[in-house]
């Protein structure tokens, strides 16, 4: 086809011997047209990033393309000499990365880093180059472009850094931009802005964009065509509307079914239950600077400002907010991992904040926590059964009994009890989060505090873990404080929701009320920013069930 920018035919990339499969990418056929956004969707390990890096010739040395053609401007990019590839990179095909903090050199100004791009590919004089840099920085809608050009990456916010990355990728007006999860590390409102920016600039310049993502919401927001990847293969490749609403491949359907809907589900009424957790006017400040001899004003961050909420028995309260809103601080104050500066946290009428350390230990087992990072929150040197038994043993249970209980809990969270004899690093992210849940349950808590428990997980795993949490909550009649930045997850899990911003709760109400009739402008902004909000997720599960029967 004449109007094809990039043609990938039969691309196969081998993994080094000893990996869990032979190919990172296997027999992939894709094409990118000018003036379109092609979304490549897949979970972690699906080979989508490897595929993108093969196009750029940026594979790590262990990986080698073993078959196929990547055709760009009548040349097979897999066979061109390195010098030619260097000319293509940046000038004809450029790339935007996931984490703008680490993808920029911390010791060079933004301007110098963009300048390097022009300097490499043209012989414009320096003043002329600077002019263009300022121009492109204002094109990506950065305020005070000249100041930004002289700023270092750490002086910008995450969103600004990503805008600068985009400016760098676009400055030479490349034919193709490859964006590898460019919004994954950003807050939801920033993500919405960046997505809009990419879409606008793409339309303006008729660039072909290959957009790698794991998020079907993002796909619904910007894709013209979609390729779904699983285990290194493209399982579905079609127009966006086709894939989103009439997906054919079972894997695509499963992925889409795992995306939580923004419409809150029906919840049991908990109004009659007694209040278990009552947080009143919780206050927490962090200060930095000052010092022994420094006369400088210490910087104070008000991480929680008179935060109040109640949770009834069996209720799940969602604490929703963007990074830095103070939601994790509140959670940590409630379990006294950090000490609050003021206010009260009552558990069944006892204020936890005034208890001595020893008294608090009696209450600790009643409130347990599940952490975000399933990799860092489990002690790597303990076997799984010891890990789970540790809590009960500290609280006086005999080791044999605690281990036996650990085996029961492993079964309960859907893991083979044989897992007990292994170390945490042998498990996948989802399995580790299950271990984390078992660990929290080992003390028979009444209250669970879950701090972003599914944020680090793939969407299909996320759905399973959420289901497990829902089961356990029902089975043990648990009260839960659920911290999340993801409004879809909140709508799915929570009975009521408190929206936090700058350490304050700006809106607090039942999930249904808050999602259908948001009152605070910030809540509305958050809801508006959810990617793919206009996309009605088709009910493949029931449809598929009907087909199969």
């Amino acid at each position: 086809m004449a109007d094809t920018l990039l043609d990938i035919e039969g691309l196969t990339v081998d993994l080094p011997a000893g990996a869990d499969r032979a190919h990172a990418v296997e027999d992939v056929n894709l094409s990118l047209r000018p003036n379109e956004i092609l979304c490549v969707v897949g979970e972690s390990g699906s080979g989508k990033s490897v595929m993108a890096r093969t196009v750029m010739g940026l594979l790590p040395p262990r990986l080698h393309p073993s078959a196929g053609v990547v055709r760009f401007e009548d040349k097979n990019l897999l066979e061109v000499p390195p010098a030619y590839m260097r000319e293509v990179r940046g000038e004809r095909i450029s790339m935007i990365f996931q984490e703008p903090m680490t993808a920029l050199n911390p010791l060079m100004t933004i301007g110098d880093q963009i300048d390097e791009m022009i300097e490499t590919h043209s012989d414009l004089a320096r003043p002329k180059r600077f002019e263009r840099i300022v121009e492109i920085l204002s094109d990506v809608r950065l305020p005070e472009p000249e100041r930004i050009a002289h700023a270092y990456p750490h002086e910008l916010s995450g969103g600004q850094r990503q805008r600068a990355m985009i400016a760098m990728a676009l400055i030479l007006e490349p034919a193709i931009v490859i964006a590898d999860e460019p919004t994954t590390a950003l807050d939801v409102t920033t993500q919405a802005q960046i997505l809009a920016l990419i879409k606008d600039l793409q339309a303006e310049r008729h660039t072909g964009v290959m957009f790698i993502t794991h998020d079907f919401g993002v796909v619904a927001e910007i894709a013209d065509r979609v390729a779904v990847m699983q285990h290194g293969k493209v399982v579905e490749f079609a127009e966006a509307g086709e894939v989103l609403n009439r997906a054919r491949h079972p894997y695509t359907r499963a992925l889409i079914a795992a995306v939580p809907s923004l419409v809150p589900g029906r919840r049991d009424d908990v109004k009659i239950e007694p209040v278990v957790i009552d947080v009143r006017d919780l206050d927490k400040r962090y200060s930095s600077g000052g010092g022994l001899f420094g006369r400088k004003e210490a910087r104070v961050v008000h991480a929680a400002k008179s935060v109040s909420f109640t949770i009834r028995r069996g209720e799940t309260l969602g604490l929703v907010g963007e990074s830095g809103s103070g939601k994790s601080t509140v959670a940590r104050c409630v379990v006294r991992l950090i000490d609050a500066d003021g206010g009260a946290v009552e558990l069944d009428g006892t204020d936890l904040l005034v208890l001595s350390k020893r008294e608090m230990n009696l209450y600790r087992k009643r409130i347990q926590m599940i952490f975000q990072d399933p990799f860092a929150s489990l002690n790597p040197r303990l076997k799984v059964d010891r890990l789970i038994a540790q809590g009960p043993v500290i609280h006086g249970m005999k080791l044999e009994d605690a281990i036996e209980r650990a085996h029961e809990l492993l079964r309960l969270v859907g893991l083979d009890p044989r897992a007990a004899d292994r170390y945490p690093h042998e498990f996948s992210g989802g399995q580790r989060q299950r271990i984390g849940i078992a660990r929290a349950l080992a003390l028979d808590p009444e209250v669970l505090i879950a701090d972003e428990p599914v944020s680090a997980l793939d969407v299909s795993v996320q759905a399973q873990v959420l289901e497990l949490l829902a089961d356990i909550r029902k089975q043990f009649h648990l009260t839960m404080l659920f911290i999340t930045h993801d409004l879809r997850v909140a709508a799915h899990v929570c009975d009521s929701v408190a929206v936090m911003r700058f350490g304050q709760i700006v809106e607090y109400g039942s999930t249904e009320e808050l999602f259908t009739n948001p009152r605070h402008p910030y809540t509305r902004e958050l809801l508006n920013a959810v990617p793919g909000k206009e996309w009605d997720i088709p009910d493949f599960v029931h449809a598929a069930g009907a087909d199969d029967d």
Binding site: T102, N105, E116
Partner: protein
């Protein structure tokens, strides 16, 4: 506030903070030296062969050694505050004058050592990392481990044996050939020739350390995302190494160099003794056995000031190298 003014403010505040630290060091040193058995009167009497108790009491009175310890300390601190480091009875000279005379050979040795270890260390680390897992990398790494594991004094002695005694290429002791009365450039060359062996001896350990540190830092930085970004821009590998990786990799080496300066003074005691280099280290060594506590305390005081000053300089250098460092 501009960055330059910020730096001046920062330096001023750091110097002000240094005053109580130095005073603390002075007091501690003074009290520690009181623990050593014997005093200057004992040594003088011992060297004279015999002395009457009356003569010794007179000596003690003259040196102020008959006063209670707290009073001696008070007088000493008062003198230090007016930059009077006291009098060395051994050399019959004011301590300050004596130290100043010996300071510049030590600074010369320290400077040469620092330059040699940091410069060559960075270079070797860079070479090893640029061709990782080749014979060059292996060769450099083996060399580094050998120098890392060899004791300082032994290296010094072996260098003397090989290069002075066997081949007679370089002088073994002293700082210059006093008997030759060199002037101008001849003198510079003569001192430089004397400098070679002690500087190599003193720098070898840190040179090896920097080589390994630089190699590891370079390899770590090569794996960073910004390197991939630079490749995606079409930048050549050579430019990536020099414009991006080296600047980032050099930061831990600078931190380590700041620590090295402190231990250089300690190391120079051994090296100056081995090579007969007329610096502070040798002076400290001699004054300890002569119980010349005034002189010893003076050297300690000056070393403390030197270390604090160099640390400040390294911190300031850091703010030039790394824009993320905040001057608080």
């Amino acid at each position: 506030m501009s960055l330059a003014r910020k730096r001046v403010h920062y330096a001023g505040r750091r110097l002000a903070q240094a005053v109580p630290i130095v005073l603390g060091i002075v007091v501690m040193n003074f009290l520690l030296l009181q623990l050593a058995p014997g005093d200057a009167a004992d040594v003088l009497a011992g060297e004279a062969g015999s002395a009457t108790p009356e003569y010794m009491a007179m000596l003690r009175e003259r040196f102020g050694l008959d006063q209670p310890v707290w009073l001696q300390l008070l007088i000493y601190v008062k003198n230090i505050l007016s930059l009077d480091l006291g009098f060395s009875f051994r050399h019959n000279m004011p301590v300050l004058e004596l130290i100043m005379e010996r300071l510049w050979p030590t600074l010369l040795l320290m400077g040469a050592t620092l330059l040699l270890s940091v410069g060559v260390g960075i270079l070797l680390g860079l070479l090893a990392a640029a061709r990782v897992n080749t014979w060059r990398d292996t060769f450099i790494s083996v060399l580094a481990i050998i120098s890392y594991a060899t004791p300082l004094f032994w290296v010094g002695l072996m260098l003397i044996v090989v290069f002075s005694l066997k081949f007679d290429w370089l002088p073994a002791t002293g700082m210059e050939s006093v008997a030759m009365f060199y002037e101008g450039w001849d003198r510079v060359v003569d001192i430089a020739r004397h400098l070679v062996l002690p500087a190599i001896t003193l720098s070898l350990f840190y040179l090896a350390l920097y080589t390994r540190l630089m190699r590891a830092a370079m390899l770590e930085q090569y794996g960073m995302d910004y390197v991939v970004t630079a490749r995606a821009k079409g930048v050549t590998e050579q430019r990536i190494t020099f414009k991006h990786v080296v600047r980032n990799a050099v930061l831990p080496v600078v931190t380590m160099a700041g620590i090295q300066v402190g231990s250089l003074l300690g190391g120079s005691v051994v090296v100056e003794s081995v090579f007969g280099w007329p610096g502070l280290g040798l002076l400290a060594f001699q004054s300890l056995f002569a119980r010349d506590f005034n002189l010893l305390l003076g050297i300690f005081f000056l070393s403390a000031c030197l270390v604090i000053l160099v640390n400040l300089l390294v911190d300031l250098l850091y703010t030039f190298l790394d824009p993320r460092i905040e001057m608080k």
